[in-house]
Symmetry: C2
Subunit: 98 residues, 2 copies
Amino acid sequence: MFRVIYEWRVAAEKMADFQHAWQAVTDTIHETVPGALGSALFRSTQTPDKVLTIAKWRTQKDWEVFWGQSDPAPMRPLHQLGERIGVETFDEVEDRTR
Amino acid sequence: MFRVIYEWRVAAEKMADFQHAWQAVTDTIHETVPGALGSALFRSTQTPDKVLTIAKWRTQKDWEVFWGQSDPAPMRPLHQLGERIGVETFDEVEDRTR
C-alpha cells in the first residue's frame, strides 16, 4: 500500500464544510480512479486549524497517474475551503492497527 | 478515535531492526495498555530515513494516561534504533479508507 499525507489549514468556521467537501471528493476519487482506496481526515488537537487528509492508494504508480494531472480536478473544491500546506508520500510498511 | 503521529529518523541499515522492535512494542502496548489500538508504520518515499508511526487510541485520555508516565518504558527499544523528531496528536474525525 501507498499513503499520501496532505496537510491543510482550515479555519474553524469552515471545518464542517471542508469535511463535507472532503467526503464527496474522497468518494468521487475512490469510485473513478483506479487504485484509489479512500482517505482519512485528522484534525490536530494542538493546532486546531491544522488538518491532515491521509489517502490510501494501492501503489505509488496509481497515485502518480492521478497526481500527474497536476492539481487534479476532483480535489478543487477543497482548495476553496482550506489552504494546502504540503504533500508527502509514504510506503505503508505495515499496519498493525485493529 | 484518537491518533498520535510519531516522527522518527532511522538509518537505512537499522530500518529492519526498527520495524521488528516496533512490532514488539506495538503488540506489548496493545495487549497491556487500556485503549491502545495498535499502530501503522510509514516510510517516506522522498526522505528515506523519515519514518512515521501512527498510533490509534480509543480516546485522548487513554493516550494521556500512557504518555503521562513520560517516555513510557515499553517504547524505549525504539529510541536505541531511531531518533524521535516529534509527536503530534490528532482527533480522527472520520475514516473513509476501505
